[in-house]
């Protein structure tokens, strides 16, 4: 059996393995440090960071749905300054790459965030959240127009040499063309999918369960949508694709890899069982050995 290469190049850097944890589902890492070995993560994508602190949306914010969940956290976070002060020191102690998920309500905000984080080595790279369905203004508008995505990506590109990952929303007519916008703007990778727009109504109270009316649907329910999105995106761009959506098992992750992803992120799955990312990584290794696959690229030759 030949040796297996789990690493993956994203721009100028290398992810140690293909299994990361998705933004907004893993906090800033410390929340899970007692439960799992963070050093095994192939990428810790932080909760979105915004320029100003944000309290997040009204309550309730989450509700379970068939094989999924709907959330409307909003971009609840401490804001850039407190993030730098209170979270970065912790990231310094971590052995896994920390990718900061960045969200803004204007192009300028995105740029200022990246500029401010650029000097810190503990920030491995950026995942640009153009796709959050839970804020009224800003990111969703950007994320659904290829030209705007290209322009914003290009501006960000000129400000950083670190890995720049654009996160795509599935709530568009053609996710492939958005991905092309990101690629043409100079992104090093795209990640997809973010949550699907959804709503659950309390029929006795006769109003949506979530205070924010709609929310983002995640979990196994959306996995087929995510796999199809990755399949489309991987056929639209040459940069690596990071697959997200409903991944609970190694088999689920392998579906994404075969569809064209070079890495994956586990989101809702970690809520269900924090041990899932590690189990997936070892399951991928076993599969690669069994099937004689040498590296992440070798998953891509089967489905054309």
């Amino acid at each position: 059996m030949s040796t297996i290469k789990l690493q993956l190049n994203i721009g100028t850097k290398t992810l140690p393995n293909p299994v990361g944890v998705a933004s907004g589902t893993f906090g800033y890492g410390s929340e899970y440090e007692k439960l799992i070995g963070l050093e095994h993560l192939g990428g810790l994508y932080t909760k979105a960071v915004t320029l100003e602190p944000r309290p997040g949306n009204g309550i309730p914010r989450i509700i379970e749905t068939p094989s999924g969940m709907l959330n409307s956290i909003g971009l609840a976070n401490v804001g850039l300054d407190a993030f730098v002060r209170t979270k970065l020191p912790y990231f310094k102690t971590l052995k896994c790459p920390v990718i900061v998920n960045v969200a803004g309500s204007s192009a300028d905000e995105y740029l200022r965030l990246v500029e401010a984080l650029e000097e810190f080595d503990e920030v491995w790279g950026y995942e640009i959240n153009l796709s959050c369905p839970n804020v009224k203004k800003g990111c969703l508008a950007f994320g659904s127009d290829p030209a705007q995505v290209e322009t914003l990506t290009a501006s960000l590109r000129s400000r950083t040499a670190k890995p720049l990952i654009i996160k795509l929303t599935p709530n568009v007519t053609s996710i492939g063309s958005i991905a092309r916008g990101a690629e043409q703007g100079g992104a090093d990778a795209v990640s997809c999918i973010n949550t699907l727009l959804g709503m659950v109504i309390d029929i006795r109270k006769k109003r949506p369960v979530l205070q924010n009316m709609t929310g983002g649907l995640s979990g196994p329910a959306i996995r087929p949508v995510g796999v199809a999105a990755v399949y489309n995106v991987a056929r639209s761009v040459k940069i690596p694709v990071i697959g997200i959506g409903g991944i609970m098992t190694a088999s689920d992750a392998i579906e994404y890899l075969l569809a064209g992803a070079s890495a994956v992120q586990v989101g809702t799955g970690t809520f269900v069982d924090p041990g899932i990312p590690e189990k997936i990584l070892s399951g991928i290794e076993t599969y690669m050995k069994e099937e004689g696959l040498a590296d992440m690229g070798s998953f891509h030759r089967f489905i054309t």
């Binding site: 907004g24 589902t25 893993f26 906090g27 929340e31 899970y32 007692k34 439960l35 909760k47 309290p55 997040g56 309550i59 309730p60 914010r61 989450i62 509700i63 379970e64 068939p66 094989s67 999924g68 969940m69 959330n71 956290i73 609840a76 979990g219 196994p220 329910a221 609970m248 809702t268 970690t270 809520f271 269900v272 069982d273 924090p274 041990g275």
Partner: protein, 256 residues
């Protein structure tokens, strides 16, 4: 806090749709009254999320912990099917427990429905260490009163059972009872339906007593990562996470 696979030692119905699940505790930390665990009730994708349950007792000698739960929806229905040979996936202990009562106060523990578990745990702990508390438990009717669980305590602490229909004990809500029979210098510790806790809190304002409330909110992660379990609080930040800042809060801090 640890994730562990716990052996079920007992799982039995203790009142109509109320169950007590006993299992072997193997986390590093000893659980405190008011703390909770999350557990995975099924193995498939629906129900999906772990479910939070407050601990209702802990025996350090046998390392046996318990929860009292109500059969409500899909997840708790699956839970009723667990047998002594089974194992369950548990994360705990989570959250902050109840504080010790202030010097000189009489602890008044008020529980409603599924709030019984943490309050029982607290009552047992207090029985040994401080002024014996008064425990008030409210349920809809006598079928929902797990007498065999509550009665053994009555030797060492005062207990009042209340039912909405008067079919057992006092007729009325736990808050009604409290209104009529509140002891001197009380300090409240309460867990139960929101309206009940609000009533207890309102009463605590009237009699200028401290009031500790154990809040509920739907949870996804249970460890502070998802920001899902927010409740509205007073102070600088508008929200607090029930799973890490709670579940026990100072009643004064809560936006009721």
């Amino acid at each position: 806090m640890n994730q562990f696979s716990a052996h079920v030692t007992k799982n039995r119905e203790i009142a109509l749709d109320y169950y007590e699940l006993s299992f072997i505790w193997s986390a590093d930390n000893t659980p405190e009254p008011g703390q909770f665990i999350t557990l995975r009730c099924g193995t498939g994708t629906a129900p999906l999320l772990r479910r939070p349950f407050a601990l209702s007792s802990y025996n350090p000698e046998t390392k046996t912990a318990r929860i009292i739960y109500q059969k409500r929806g899909e997840a708790t229905t699956l839970l009723t099917a667990k047998h002594p040979e089974d194992t369950i996936d548990i994360i705990g202990p989570l959250g902050n427990g109840f504080p010790a009562p202030s010097e000189g106060s009489r602890p008044v523990l008020v529980a409603g429905g599924i709030g019984l578990g943490p309050v029982l745990f607290l009552a047992k702990a207090m029985r040994e260490t401080q002024t014996p508390p008064l425990l008030i438990f409210g349920a809809r009717n006598r079928y929902q009163v797990p007498l065999e669980i509550i009665e053994p305590l009555s030797a060492s602490i005062d207990i009042a059972v209340c039912t909405d229909d008067g079919s057992q004990g006092f007729k009325g809500t736990a808050a009604d009872y409290l209104q009529e029979h509140c002891p001197e210098h009380p300090e409240f510790f309460t867990c139960g339906p929101h309206p009940m806790m609000k009533a207890v809190y309102d009463l605590s304002r009237t009699c200028r007593a401290r009031c500790w409330v154990s809040m509920e909110q739907i949870m996804a992660c249970g460890v502070g990562a998802c920001m899902g379990c927010a409740i509205a609080v007073k102070g600088e930040k508008p929200f607090a996470r029930v799973c890490v800042e709670g579940p026990v809060f100072d009643g004064d801090a809560v936006v009721w």
